[in-house]
Amino acid sequence: MATSGQTISDEARGVGRISTRPVSRRRRRNLNNLAGYLFISPWLIGFFLFTFLPMLASLYFAFTDYSILSPPRWVGLANFEQMFFHDPRYWKSVQATFYYVFAAVPLRLAFALVVAMLLNNYRPGVGIYRAAYYAPSVIGGSVAVAVMWRQIFGTQGVVNALTGFLGIPPVTWLGDPKTAIWTLIILAVWQFGSPMLIFLAGLKQIPKELYEAASMDGAHGWSQFLHITIPMLTPVILFNLVMQMISGFMVFTQAFIVTGGAPLDTTLFYALYLYQRAFVNFQMGYASAMAWVLLIVVALFTALVFRSSSAWVHYETEGD
């Protein structure tokens, strides 16, 4: 058995320990190393070509003035100085992005959780409802939906037509700095499908006995929700929160099509402004500096959420 080098992690199972010949063991390990790197080589090469090297390049460009046409010129911290102290549009974009993330992410997760709880039973037809609720998320990122959204919230759009029936005068949803960002937040909330499915999977994992025991103790409805459902779901909530937050910080297509950053830059999301700097104005250095600030902010927020998780995420202990 040990004559061939191509074993399957037999060291892990302790099979390798039976072998008394250390040479063949080393040979086997070397062959495993080789096979391992061969199998992951597509990703590894891609990681260096399309992630690692670009990141290094981007870090360098962040300290340069670079328009592609002429070679990059080192400017030190000038990009960051410009960004933080002399670019009001930059702060507009930061403000819009935070507003969006802090409104859209909690709303979307709350919706996802409520609907997941509604669907977490075995009534007939639940599958159809699940499909209906998930459908908007399937098409959510598409340009078609963004185009549609712009018309739904247009002055002659459906929303004004419907509120008109209730006697509410038409509103220029997309033109009013107060409402424009909310059309995008509603668009995000409308696509609660993925977190909903993840919550649904999480809900199904909660042992029924917990609810039965709670019922015996006289805890029902709201009390069960607060003391069983929520604590048992906290690992899933953490996961959803992190994923949604990250994608929230990078929102682009919807704003690009629906509002284009208008009115008065109230929907000029960070990724949108970065795109304009990079691919409209061809200020690659400035845009790279912006990208690194984004990366650091996303990493900080992710770390913050993970750090806080020990206080609120409940992990079941082994054999509990």
């Binding site: 399957i8 670009p54 598409s142 739904i152 297509t253």
Partner: protein
């Protein structure tokens, strides 16, 4: 207590009635919500079938008074002398080639990470997970510069090449799936003389078909709906994907024929819906087991 034993049927009936009202309230509620959720989609399809004059006059109605396919024929003509035939061809090339490349490469990498113990595996796995959180904005600028220096703008290379190096999401998802396959199978194959390549192709690959399908659907969706990448690299209208074409087509400063815009928008969603209807089970399982974003 005594009363309950005296009339158990009465209590049962009361219970049943209560259950029935609860059921009714439940179904009315979820149906109403479902209607609100799909209303915009239905609206888009309804508007695409209305004659131009009717679209804005009966804007909230979901039933066209007269059904016309004119919007579709008008819209298909496209703009600048390029019809949607070209845009659909481009989108299909991008989505299909991209999907094949990323699913196959991801499967190979997933096998390596989950079934071979090699030096540095933990480290590279952490790198893989980190790339999941990396904003595309950090890498797209240097990538764009590199591709432009190589004179590869307005070609398929920048869009398709990166797809052949595995997608972190798919690798992660397939690893979860491979973990569920008993190792006894690998060992039996090994005793029969299979190497890693043999085990991968003959044992693992056939067993992870559901995961491959799930990954393929997501990959198709994401490339079909991808907007940023073609926007950055494709500047010639004859290379536009449907997403890009729709954006130019629906430019509020230029578009006047809203019927045609709605028709082409609705049409672009149809491949997505077809896959959704056929493969819904895989999608739901894929998201539930690995937490993929939709």
């Amino acid at each position: 207590m005594a009363q309950a034993t005296l009339s158990p049927t009465l209590a049962k009936q009361a219970h049943l009635r209560r259950e029935r009202t609860r059921s009714l309230v439940y179904y009315v509620g979820v149906t109403l919500l479902a209607f609100i959720m799909v209303y915009p989609i239905l609206w888009l399809f309804a508007s695409s079938l209305k004659p131009s004059a009717e679209i804005w006059t009966t804007v909230s109605s979901l039933i066209p008074r007269t059904i016309t396919w004119e919007n579709y024929t008008n819209g298909w003509r496209g703009f600048g002398g390029i019809s949607f035939t070209t845009f659909y061809m481009n989108s299909f090339i991008y989505a299909i080639v991209g999907t094949i490349g990323s699913v196959l490469s991801s499967a190979i990498v997933a096998y390596g990470f989950s079934r071979i113990r090699f030096f540095g595996r933990g480290f590279w796995f952490v790198c893989l997970l980190m790339t999941l959180m990396l904003p595309a904005q950090v890498t797209i600028i240097p990538q764009y510069i590199a591709f432009s220096k190589l004179q590869l703008l307005n070609t398929w290379w920048p869009l398709l090449l990166p797809k052949f190096f595995g997608g972190a999401f798919f690798i992660f998802m397939m690893m979860q799936f491979i973990r569920g396959i008993p190792k006894d199978l690998d060992e039996a194959a090994f005793i029969d003389g299979c190497g890693h390549a043999g085990i991968f192709f003959r044992i693992i690959l056939p067993l992870i078909v559901p995961a491959l399908i799930t990954a393929a659907i997501f990959s198709f969706y994401w490339t079909w709906e991808d907007f940023l990448t073609p926007l950055v690299y494709m500047n010639k209208p004859n290379l536009y994907t449907v997403s890009l074409a729709l954006r130019s087509f629906a430019d509020p400063s230029a578009a006047t024929d809203w019927g045609a815009v709605f028709a082409m928008s609705a049409l672009s969603l149809i491949p997505v819906f077809i896959l959704f209807v056929i493969f819904q089970r895989y999608l739901v399982e894929g998201i539930s087991t690995s937490g993929l974003k939709g």
